[in-house]
Every structure is written in C-alpha cells, then in structure tokens.
C-alpha cells in the first residue's frame, strides 16, 4: 500500500514534455465552419421550397374563384321549340338555339341596340360558350321552365374572368387587348347591379377537359388518377409484400438472389419513361389492351411502384429483431407462422409507409402515361378503368401548354390540389407509422 502511494507521485513528476500543438482553436473553427455549411445547405433548400410554393400559390389561388354573370334568361318557347314538337321529338331540345337566349338577355340587361352587331358580338363574347350546354341541361332536365324567366348564373368568359380578377394589364392599347373598353364598362355596371360576382369555383373540381378555361376542370382527370391508384394499390401491395417476404425470409442466399436484389435496387432508379415504353410494348401492343385506359396506366405504375415497395418492405422485415424470430421458432412455430404472426405485423408500419410513398410517387408520375396515350382530351367521366381517361399530372401538363391567362392560374391551382393530395398521403404514412410503431 505504502509502496503504491510512494510510487504514484513519481509517475507524475517525470520531466514535463512539451505538449504538441493539436490546434484546439483550429478544431473549433472547423466545427463552426461545418455547422455554417450545414445551415447554408438547409436554408438554400428552404428558400427554393418557399419560392416554389410562393409561385404556385400566388399564381394559383385565383383559380379557386370564378366570375359568373347572373342574367334573367327568358326561356322563350319561340326560340327553343317554335313548332311545339318536343313531345314527339325530344332531340329538338338538344339542338335549339340557346345562345340566342343569352344574347337576348344580355341585350336587355346592358341596354344595347340589337341592330348594332359589333356591340352585340362584344356583349355575347363576355359569356362563356359553355352557356349553351348549361342552358340546354336546364331545359332538358326540366321542360317546365320553357316559357318562364329564370335567373341563371352563367360562367363569364375566360378573359373577362381574368379582367375581373385584375390580371389583365389595362395600360395596353385597346386594340392589343383581349378585353375591350366597352366590355370593361359593362363589367362595371354588371358588378354594380350585382349580376357579376366572384364565387367559389366548384367547376374546377367537377369539369373535364375543355378548350375554354372557364369550363375546364380536373374532375375527370382525378377519377382517372383514382382508378390508377386503386389498381396500383391492389396489385403492387400483395405482389411487393410476397416478393419481399420470399426474398428476405425463404430464398437461399446465393448468386442468383444477389443478382435479383441488385436488379430490384436498380429498377427503382430506372427512368419512369422507360416503364411507359414497356407498358406500350407489353400491355398495348402485345396484350392488346385499349389505349388511354386507366387500366394500362395502373399496370405501368404498378411496375414502377413495385421496386419501391419491395425495398421498403425488405428493410422493414430486416429491422425486426432476430430475437423475436428465435422466440417464435423456439416455441415450435413454423417459419410461416413466425413470419405471419410476428415478423410481418411488426414490419407493417414500414410496409405501409413504403406503399404510401410509392403510391404518392405514382400519383405524381406523368412521363410513362404520355407513352400509353393518356395525354388525352377527355371530356366525360370514365365509367370504368377500360375507358379513355387521363390523370391529374397529365392534366396539369396539358394546361401548362395553353396560353390563356385563365389556364395559367388553373395550372397552378391543379398543382396545388395535387400537392394537397401528396401531402395528405405522406401525412397518412407518418400517422400510420406513429400509430403502429412498437418498441422492443
């Protein structure tokens, strides 16, 4: 004991060596520098995200409002059905001269001389040509309106809508402007009388494709997307999960399975347009499925989503601790019981997260759909996945090609709707993960 205490100081009193300069200040500086780089990287990312959202929202929020002109329309029998033959020939109602009703209503409301053709033309140009179908639908659905006068909210024409939202530069010379000064004057009177109002644009959500921006909406495209998402979910989840379980739990570890694994990882990075080519070759040219159909789109997107789901599922299966497997096997559970009673339920949050991320990816995918003919002008809702349809991102792509100001705002509006869907799906993935996450 005494020896130890005696020898202890000796070790500390050996000749003091000069400590090497390890550059403490430099180390701290390096750390601060690195932190600054990291902050700069994050701020750059946030800046661009902000710019993106700002551009989209500032351009697009007006798409959710639509100008309407409410006019007292006189459903004159003279115009609609002068020979009173609608009882025998209902098709007569389909071809009646409805624009004339609008013209008459406008002449009355704006106090125009009916013989001044130029002026009348300017007035009728203010109302969307979709008024024809709008009035036709009213009459066909309810023949008793004939002979009465009803207040009908007609969609304003796209340029008038833009002007009403202040999006048209009035400093431009009148000759070069889409909206003339007379029309501006009428807009003022109509607004003052309460005929011209801005309302929530329900049409954006329900209409299909149209060359007139005021009558164009994402409704039909959304249904096409919905069909495709259902097909992707129904096909890729079971196929992906089965493939991953087999590869992860049952397949022997050899060169072949290694090769398959490498290929699956590579497939996840294959440009999506290549899947479109594959779908075109296999599903349309070889299997003879219809073009532009949501079925083919869904199949192509399934192929594209599979690698994502397989990779996520395998990672989730791998993350289940081996002790759980040992416990089940040690109790005499078979391999399949072990997997389906214990491993898969524990991996489920990861599987679902992977699936939802894959679906979100598929929802936003455009390129492969271009190749299988889904860039289509689809006006009517597809009744089944076999009928021609289009998809949300494709609709955005098509609107982005249009020049009218009203299509610009609709493009951004549709992007906002798509983003909301994607955010909701990702939120769902996060909530599922939180809800089912277990600790062991």
């Amino acid at each position: 004991m005494t020896e130890i205490t005696a020898s202890a100081p000796a070790t500390f009193t050996r000749p003091a060596q000069a400590r090497r300069d390890i550059g403490i200040k430099k180390r701290y500086r390096a750390e601060r520098r690195f932190r600054a780089y990291g902050m700069a990287a994050i701020l750059t990312g946030l800046f661009f995200l902000f710019v993106l959202l700002w551009t989209v929202i500032s351009n697009g929020y007006t798409a959710f409002l639509q100008t309407t002109i409410t006019l007292p329309i006189e459903f004159s029998e003279q115009v609609i059905d002068p020979k009173n033959e609608r009882a025998d020939n209902p098709a007569k109602l389909m071809t009646a001269n409805y624009p004339l009703l609008v013209r008459d209503a406008l002449i009355k409301a704006l106090n125009i001389d009916p013989s001044n053709r130029a002026l009348v033309k300017q007035a009728t140009d203010m109302v969307s040509a979709s008024a024809r179908t709008q009035l036709r639908d009213i009459v066909v659905n309810n023949q008793s309106v004939i002979g009465t006068t009803q207040n009908v909210a007609l969609l304003a024409e796209g340029n008038i809508d833009s002007a009403n939202k202040g999006q048209i530069d009035l400093n431009v010379a009148e000759a070069n402007r889409k909206v003339k000064d007379t029309q501006l004057g009428w807009m003022k009177t109509l607004t003052e009388t309460g005929a011209m109002t801005k309302n929530f644009n329900t049409g954006l959500f329900t209409f299909g494709a149209s060359s007139r921006p005021e009558a164009a909406g994402i409704g039909v495209a959304a249904v096409g997307s919905l069909y495709m998402m259902l097909i992707v979910l129904v096909l890729s989840l079971p196929i992906g999960v089965c493939a991953s379980i087999y590869l992860e739990e049952f397949a022997p570890k050899n060169k072949l399975t290694d090769l398959i694994e490498v290929n699956i990882n590579n497939l996840a990075a294959v440009p999506s347009i290549v899947y479109g080519l594959l779908g075109l070759a296999v599903f349309i040219n070889f299997a003879g499925m219809p073009r532009s159909a949501a079925l083919v789109g869904g199949l192509v997107l399934t192929l594209m989503t599979l690698p994502t789901i397989i990779i996520a599922t395998r990672a989730a299966l791998k993350a289940v601790p081996p002790s759980i497997r040992s416990a089940a096997l040690g109790l005499g559970a078979s391999k399949m019981q072990t997997i389906f009673h214990h491993v898969l339920p524990l991996a489920m949050p990861g599987v679902l997260t992977g699936t939802i991320i894959g679906l979100a990816h598929a929802l936003g995918e455009t390129a492969p759909l271009l190749l299988i003919g889904m860039v289509a002008f689809v006006v009517d809702y597809p009744g089944s996945p076999m009928e021609p349809s289009t998809a949300l991102p494709v609709q955005i792509y098509m609107w982005a090609n249009e020049a009218e100001r009203a299509f610009v705002e609709r493009t951004s509006g549709a992007i906002m709707i798509l983003l909301v869907f994607l955010v909701l799906m990702n939120l769902g993935a996060i909530l599922l993960r939180r809800r089912f996450e277990r600790r062991w």
């Binding site: 022997p252 040992s326 416990a327 096997l329 109790l331 005499g332 009673h341 214990h342 600790r439 062991w440």
Partner: protein, 271 residues
C-alpha cells in the same frame, strides 16, 4: 414436514446423480458452420430432472451444443450437424421427426428477454395455441395462470395480464419468457445464459425459479458465471475450443475436477 421430505428427496437426488436416467443423449455430436467446425465429437448426456450447466470460455461451443438439442441450429443457413442426439431414445435428427413437435418437447429461453410485443396473456398463450393444446378461453386462462405461477410471476402481473409484455422489467420479462416456454409443457427447457442481461436481484429470482422448475423439467443451462453454475446445477460440463473437456457432478467439478484445464478455468487462469 412436507418441506423436510422435499429437501430430503432433493438431497437424495443430488447424492445419487449417477443413477438418474438419461433424458437426452448426445453421441459424437459435431457442428459445422460452413467449413468451420465448431464442435468436435461431443459425447454429453443430460439426466432427467436435473439441471445441467454448460460452462466454458466464449466461443467454446457451449451455446452451439445447447442449440443442437432442439435443432435451433437448423435456422442458420450453412449449419450442419453430425452425430446422434436422442430424446427418450428417439433420434431428434431423424428425417421423420417434426421439428415443431420437438420444440414443443424441448423449449428454450434466450439470453436476452424477448417477449413478443403483445400482451402478457398473449405471450403465454401463443405456444399452446399453435400446438393446439387449448382453444377454449377457460383452458387458456388456466394455462396462463399455471404457467405464470410456475414462473413465479403470477402475483406480480395477475392484474395486468392484458398489458404489453414489453412493459415489464428485465427480470420480469425473462420470467415471462420462462412462463411462455413452460406453457407448452415441455420436457426439457434449454436456457442460453438466461441471466446475462439481468441485475443481481432478478438473477437471484431466476436462479431460484430454475431450482423449482427442476422438479418438473429437465434443464440445460449455458452460463458464463461459474458461481451460477455452482449454485443452480447438479451436473456441469466444461467446453473448450469446441471440445467437451469434462462432465461431472457440480460439487466435484468445482472442488476437485479431473481435468487440469477445468481447474485452470475455474481458477480464472484463462477464459
């Protein structure tokens, strides 16, 4: 009086260890992991209603031997077992033997407590359910109570059977795992360092439990702690570098071993 007789029986058992019949017989057991040989012709027998401790330095093959007894090595891809192991005269590596049935007869408790992330009740009933031992709720309830009682856990958890088993303390979790193994009424229970993740108090409880379980079950335990081997076992086997060095009554092993290497290991000269 009852206590006395039990103690007397125990003492008699301890004294006449060599006359207790064999439950499992391992003959020339060798294990290969790929090209690497992990066990060299081990001849080791396990006696009925006895605690057999397997000791030895890390990597000596004691866990590997333990896992051959219920064919848990089958789950390792490139593992190969040669030799013969019998359970009550039946070859457990026979092609006709169903590993599911074998593991129902030879249960296992692992190093780290590994309850399923389910309720305590479900943890205990999982084994009986997959083996078809019970279907009715009443039967299952009874099995749960009996198993937890045997594992000395009943009083601690009887009011929270439907809370997750992972919420228990480490020692309680390990006893839950023992209850889970007991619930399928095995004949042999294998324990792979069951106390290495537990604190001394929990360890003492598990050791006490092993002592009690011995009356109903044959127990083989792998342990790193020689004191534990001395405390809980009647027979001890010492492994070194894949060879069985010595197998003897525990008393003799820790006082007067036959082999010099055992002596050195027990004295802490290597390992």
């Amino acid at each position: 009086m009852n206590m006395m007789s039990e103690a007397a029986v125990e003492k008699a058992l301890d004294q006449k260890m060599t006359t207790v019949p064999y439950k499992m017989i391992g003959k020339d057991v060798s294990v290969y992991y790929g090209d690497k040989r992990a066990l060299f012709d081990v001849n080791l027998n396990v006696r009925e209603n006895t605690v057999t401790a397997l000791i030895g330095p890390s990597g000596c093959g004691k866990s590997t031997f333990l896992r051959t007894l219920n064919r848990m090595n089958d789950t390792i891809d490139n593992c190969r077992v040669t030799g013969k192991i019998t359970l009550d005269d039946g070859d457990i590596y026979d092609a006709k033997i169903d590993v599911v049935e074998l593991r129902a007869r030879v249960g296992m408790v692992f190093q780290k407590p590994n309850p399923f992330p389910k309720s305590i009740y479900e943890n205990v009933t999982y084994g009986p359910k997959i083996h078809g031992l019970a279907r009715a709720k009443a039967e299952l309830d009874q099995i749960v109570e009996q198993s937890l009682q045997k594992a000395g856990l009943w009083n601690e958890v009887k009011d929270r059977l439907h809370e997750p088993g992972t919420g228990l303390s480490g020692g309680q979790q390990q006893r839950l795992c023992i209850a889970r193994a007991v619930a399928v009424s095995p004949e042999v229970i294998l324990m792979d360092e069951p106390c290495s993740a537990l604190d001394p108090i929990a360890t003492a409880k598990v050791e006490e439990l092993i002592h009690e379980l011995r009356t109903n079950f044959t127990i083989v335990i792998v342990t790193h702690s020689m004191q534990q081997a001395a405390r809980v076992s009647q027979r001890t086997a010492m492994f070194h570098l894949g060879n069985l060095v010595e197998e003897n009554d525990t008393d003799k092993m820790f006082t007067n071993p036959d082999d010099q290497r055992t002596q050195d290991y027990i004295m802490g000269r290597f390992g």
